[in-house]
């Protein structure tokens, strides 16, 4: 089994606010991220696909194809957007790294037909990232668990 990783970047703004919380509670739980004007990040996304190389091409999947999927599903949807208001998949959710990574997993998983999506790693900053492995518990068995 080979694990292939492709990286992209996108820039977006967001804010954390739960309408079920009081103004005070929103400020306490979310801190600076509750600023009603929002704020932004340069997100870095690493997508890892697991599979065996095709004997004829030597590839798990065509990187060009993966690049196009990432462009269509992620960059076109999220780059230079206000995530709370412009990404319907995040509507009604707090756009934390956890929730964005889950949305990205659900967008990509059905589109990757050669090999299988193994991990979605989303960096909000170089010091904060989330790894999403889908519904499985396969994280322990595979390499690169949390680097």
């Amino acid at each position: 089994m080979i694990y292939l990783t492709r990286k992209i970047e996108f820039s977006a703004s967001h804010l954390y606010h739960n309408p079920a919380f009081s103004a005070e509670e929103n400020r306490r739980v979310f801190g600076k991220c509750n600023n009603p004007h929002g704020h932004g990040h340069n997100y870095v996304l690493e997508v890892t696909v697991a599979g065996d190389p095709d004997p004829a091409t030597g590839m798990v999947l065509d990187l060009k194809e993966l690049k196009e999927i990432l462009q269509r599903e992620v960059t076109d949807r999220m780059d230079h957007r206000f995530l709370n208001y412009e990404v319907p998949e995040l509507a009604g959710q707090i756009p934390t790294c956890e929730n964005i990574a889950t949305v990205i997993w659900r967008l990509l998983q059905p589109k990757i037909t050669r090999g299988s999506l193994h991990r979605v790693r989303l960096y909000e900053t170089p010091d904060l990232f989330v790894d999403c492995y889908g519904e499985t518990n396969g994280a322990e068995a595979a390499p690169g668990g949390s680097r």
Binding site: I94, P95, A101, D127, L128, V130, C132, E140, S146
Partner: protein, 141 residues
Amino acid sequence: MNIHLTRRYRFAASHRLHSPQLGEEENKRVYGKCNNPYGHGHNYVVEVAVSGPVDPGTGMIANLSDMDAFVEREVIEPFDHTYLNEEISEFRERVPTTENICIEIFNRLREFPRAKLERVRVEETSLNSFEYTGEPVGSRQ
């Protein structure tokens, strides 16, 4: 969804690699420059990974401010700008290699109440790093 949240922290500290179980010559041979009796230092980077259900109200596995405060109290504050061999009691008994530092940090963070600790990874320099996931040490020998 199986999700891990990872946060990176930093501390700077000095140490000396010297085992009382080995003779002077043997210590020099095994640890090389790291056996210098005056010690030496590193800028350590600690990656802490936790997992757990995402709270639908907050969208979070764990609130970063809780996680930061816990790691700060248990690890960064006691370790930062110290001589690990003398100032961290566990390293009076055990050589403060990055392997042992990684295990010690994992043990200090094990009881984080907001999420399950999955992994601690420590970079001693940008060229070497160590990971520990909490299995009993020696269990694979």
